[in-house]
């Protein structure tokens, strides 16, 4: 217990961080908006890296994509992502004619080994009921407008089956490598309430 670690307390580290931050803003080296945008991107979108890597692999490797759609659990395990408690992972593929979206009408079943923690709205009763009844309106509220000719399929997760959406690869992303592609795959795109980021947002 008396082991004396020579590390600084959180209070001091917090003070140093705030000092650094305020000076960087004061000197015009950085804007608070840039930092806020970046942090929220990491917390909300780029966090679910495991799923993003699965999707990126499927985009570059047609054989992997076939295995993923065939047996989601096994293909995801190939990349070393496990922790599934016996649930079966089913990957559903978006095409120009079909858009998939995932929910859990009963509670908040979620493919956490690939997507991390569910967003707050996923557990919201309004999302859970309305996405089944009026998926097009709900998706439009997320900013995703789908043509009338696109069929919307809503997948209700359960304790036994968890769904992951394989979004369409963004146009113009042909030259990107797997890492750069993974950076375009957002959590929301894998739930099916948005599209991946535009290829232009990659380097």
């Amino acid at each position: 217990m008396s082991h004396d670690h020579d590390h600084h307390g959180d209070a001091e580290l917090e003070v140093r961080t705030r000092a650094l931050e305020s000076l960087l803003y004061e000197k015009g080296l950085l804007t608070a908006a840039a930092v806020d945008t970046l942090i929220s991107a990491y917390e909300e979108d780029i966090g679910p890296l495991n799923g993003a890597r699965v999707v990126a692999r499927a985009w570059v490797d047609p054989e992997y994509r076939r295995r993923l759609l065939d047996d989601g659990s096994a293909a995801i395990a190939e990349l070393g992502y496990g922790g599934l408690q016996g649930e079966h992972m089913v990957v559903v593929e978006n095409t120009p004619a079909v858009h998939n979206v995932v929910c859990c009408t009963l509670c908040s079943c979620y493919p956490w080994p690939v997507l991390g923690l569910p967003p707050r709205w996923y557990k919201d009763p309004a999302y859970r009921s309305r996405i089944v009844i009026e998926p097009r309106s709900v998706l439009a509220e997320f900013g995703l407008a789908l043509g009338e000719d696109v069929e919307v399929r809503v997948w209700d997760s359960s304790a036994e089956i968890r769904y992951l959406v394989l979004p369409e690869r963004p146009a113009g992303s042909e030259a990107l490598d797997e890492d750069a592609l993974a950076a375009l795959v957002t959590r929301d795109a894998m739930i099916g309430v948005s599209r991946p980021l535009a290829a232009a947002l990659a380097p």
Binding site: V15, T17, A34, D36, Y42, G116
Partner: protein, 112 residues
């Protein structure tokens, strides 16, 4: 590769703590300092390697001291801004003393 992809590529001892693939911040300042480093590298057009090299050094130097991952991250970022001449060390120390002083003042205030 984008800076974000380079962050994602940090591996081993250099990799930020994650849970279920998602970054884990134990305290709000950890998220701030994480974002500051990446945003600064982007805003100033620096090479991510300049930060990463210092992070590696700080992690190696701090291994026996028991500091946390983001303590090393902060130390690496402080060194980067000082060594690149963006801020002076004395300035940082002065500002830290001011922030700490303002904190104490707030804590003394009733209802603060």
């Amino acid at each position: 590769m984008s800076v974000q992809a380079q962050v994602n590529a940090l591996s081993g001892a250099q990799a930020p703590p994650r849970s279920n693939g998602e970054l884990v911040f134990e305290e709000p300042w950890q998220a701030r300092v994480f974002g500051l480093a990446i945003a600064l590298v982007q805003a100033q057009g620096l090479d991510w390697e300049e930060f990463r090299r210092r992070l590696i050094e700080e992690i190696a130097a701090g291994q026996d001291a028991g500091g946390g991952y983001y303590e090393h991250w902060l130390a690496a970022l402080e060194r980067l801004v000082i060594e690149r001449g963006l801020l002076r060390e004395a300035e940082l120390e002065h500002e830290a003393a001011r922030v700490a002083g303002a904190d104490r003042h707030e804590h003394d205030a009733p209802g603060g």
